[in-house]
């Protein structure tokens, strides 16, 4: 390995694969390595054998779950929001041609002990069982206000300033009940806690618009999902990178991040080989996550923990109209918590498990020292659980921007229900590495005779 690269990418999670693909398209000479013998890192989808090896190494998968190869179980529960930034990157890079997508069949919210569909338009709000008669009128006025908002027409602003008024003040103006605020803030704006209420209303407004425009795009829910699991996404971007000259090395232990006397990045050592590059980018697990230091330096810090329970069901989730896939949000207030509980469910419709099996992942941000009990309200909604795999993962964030040492570290996959924060991280890392904003260029690649 005498060659010198522009960038070494460590880990083949989605964030790293998007960056790898975009860097290769930009003309950088990229070496992309992973310690595992499969693509995807923490954002991989596993077959049954791989899943049991990870969670229960002393057990073989039960025969009645069906064929191993029918399974692609996500480790991180996320959906793609149809009109979001990830969709835009997929389309602009033309990576869509390697993937097939289906809708997620429904988006639900928990209120007062039962689940209901999330209304996304004033029409649906009027029909929703989530609100009483008078509240519906108030909600209708609120949604009309959002839909009619025009930046340069003060008549549509109804005396509100999205950059000055807080979201709490907007709710107050329309007289919305706390329960209604819960589903708007948590099931539509997709905030994990209530901190947004005390901040200016604009980001909440934008999130609601993203939700409703995503909902309008394909109809059933604001979400889409790749056939064969989320693990297809990093593979597709890895292919983009390879097509533009990126070199791949999997199953390669990474033993040391080599730096010079000033602490600047020199290369990556695997065994007794060291590969040199100008920059390195990778996920926190390659930079001392879980250890106190990496080579004497604290490069990442834990900023919280997420508990996730992967559950196999032999039936659809009760109360979802037998949906083949769904998201259910339990707003924190409804169960006396600070953070929401999420359920993400997919099934054989998405080619991720055997027929008549449903895979639901229940997750939340850990608030106590008994994380499994914290997701109990979510587990209870599922009905009988055939089997479940519970894990608690730390969320890591880099301690420095990397601009002084050319070591650029991505963030762990957070507890949000979609990939928008992953794309934010891609933009952020790109800006740090390249010193300029990422602008997506349309590829023109078809070679057709």
């Amino acid at each position: 390995m005498d060659e010198e690269y522009d960038v070494i990418v460590l880990g083949t999670g989605l964030t790293e694969c998007i960056l790898s693909g975009l860097l290769s398209v930009e003309g950088k000479k990229v070496l992309h390595m992973d310690r595992n013998d499969y693509y995807g890192g923490d954002s991989a989808s596993l077959n049954l054998t791989q899943l049991y090896r990870k969670f229960r190494p002393d057990q073989t998968p039960p025969a009645d779950l069906g064929r191993d190869r029918d399974y692609a179980v996500d480790l991180i529960p996320k959906f793609i929001i149809a009109s979001g930034e990830l969709t835009r990157i997929l389309v602009h890079t033309d990576v869509t041609r390697y993937l097939e997508f289906k809708q997620i069949a429904g988006s639900f919210v928990y209120r007062d002990g039962k689940i209901s569909k999330v209304p996304s338009t004033e029409m649906e709000a009027v029909k929703s069982p989530l609100m009483g008669l008078f509240e519906k009128r108030r909600a209708k006025k609120f949604f009309e206000f959002l839909q009619n908002w025009k930046e340069d027409d003060p008549n549509t602003h109804q005396g509100l300033d999205l950059d000055k008024n807080t979201m709490a003040q907007v709710y107050e103006k329309f007289g919305l009940e706390p329960g209604t605020q819960d589903f708007i803030g948590h099931a539509m704006a997709l905030y994990l806690d209530d901190d947004y209420k005390t901040k200016p209303a604009r980001p909440t407004y934008e999130r609601i618009v993203l939700y409703t425009s995503s909902m309008a795009r394909y109809g059933k829910s604001p979400y889409i999902y790749p056939l064969y699991g989320l693990g297809e996404l990093p593979q597709a971007f890895a292919r983009l990178s390879a097509i533009y000259g990126g070199t791949y090395m999997l199953d390669k232990p990474i033993d040391e991040i080599v730096t010079d006397a000033d602490g600047k990045f020199v290369g990556v050592r695997s065994g007794n080989e060291t590969v040199k590059a100008k920059q390195v980018v990778g996920d926190p697990s390659y930079f001392g996550a879980g250890k106190s230091t990496e080579g004497g330096k604290v490069r990442v810090v834990e900023e919280g923990k997420v508990v996730r329970a992967i559950c196999f069901l032999k039936h659809p989730i009760p109360g979802t109209d037998d949906a083949d896939s769904a998201q259910i949000i339990i707003p924190q207030n409804q169960v006396g918590r600070r953070n929401d509980i999420y359920i993400a469910m997919v099934s054989s419709t998405h080619n991720v498990c055997a027929k008549d099996v449903y895979v639901a992942i229940v997750s939340t941000i850990v608030e106590t020292d008994r994380p499994e009990q914290e997701i109990a309200p979510g587990l209870q909604l599922l009905g009988p659980i055939y089997d479940k795999f519970v894990s608690v993962s730390s969320l890591y964030t880099p301690t420095s921007s990397g601009q002084s040492d050319n070591i650029f570290i991505t963030r762990s996959y957070d507890a949000t229900s979609h990939f928008e924060t992953v794309v934010d991280d891609v933009h952020d890392v790109w800006r740090r590495m390249m010193g300029k904003d990422l602008t997506l260029k349309k590829r023109n690649v078809e070679v057709e005779a």
């Binding site: 693509y39 149809a82 869509t96 997508f101 292919r239 097509i243 000259g245 791949y248």
Partner: protein
């Protein structure tokens, strides 16, 4: 009206046996002696018209240098595979055999596999006899041919033979590989469609 079918074709084989050159000859009828690896040649398609006017469109997936670290996505929904070896390198046939074993394990059981001995223009330096390769292909139930991407000899014949062997029983719209306009258009959503479709016209169709 003639029937049209679309199939996903994957290329396999050791590096430097001429996989990309073979495709370049087939798709663009070109050859480049000093071609290194395939940068930017993302996605190639080529059609073959059979005698009965059936049109077979190949959606060709090159390994893009990921020979050793192919993703499962690569094999997914592949209808046919061309496994290439270099007739002047005996070791490349051994490597081809290991790819064929992997295909038999990972790919759809109905996949049509063609074993292809390339660099026929260098027959003077031949290390792999026709008999040896042909015998192996027969034992494994594979198609077999020799080609020269450099002169073009045998190249279009391989793809035409594959086109003939692929099943043409399914209705045209229901066939197709994983790519855009394939199976996705039947049941899934097309992200390349603009976002202005309102409710009621949600499911895009590929007509």
């Amino acid at each position: 009206m003639s029937k049209q079918f679309q199939f996903k074709l994957v290329l396999l084989g050791e590096s430097a046996v001429g996989k990309s050159s073979l495709v370049l000859r087939f798709v663009k009828d070109q050859f480049d002696d000093y071609r290194e690896s395939t940068i930017g040649a993302a996605f190639l398609t080529q059609t073959v018209t059979l005698e009965d006017q059936t049109i077979v469109k190949f959606e060709i997936w090159d390994t893009a240098g990921q020979e050793r670290y192919k993703a499962p996505m690569y094999y997914r929904n592949a209808n046919c595979a061309v496994v290439v070896y270099d007739i002047t390198q005996a070791s490349s046939l051994e490597k081809a055999k290991s790819w064929i074993r992997e295909l038999q394990r990972q790919a759809d059981p109905s996949i049509v596999i063609a074993l292809c001995g390339n660099k026929l223009d260098l027959a003077a330096r031949r290390q792999v006899t026709q008999e040896e390769a042909k015998k192996y292909a027969e034992e494994e139930g594979l198609m077999w041919a020799e080609t020269s991407a450099k002169t073009g000899e045998g190249v279009s014949e391989v793809f035409t033979a594959i086109a003939k062997k692929l099943p043409q029983t399914a209705p045209p719209s229901a066939r197709g590989g994983a790519g855009r306009g394939g199976a996705a258009a039947r049941t899934g959503v097309d992200l390349n469609k603009q976002a202005n479709a309102g409710p009621g016209q949600n499911e895009p169709c590929n007509c």
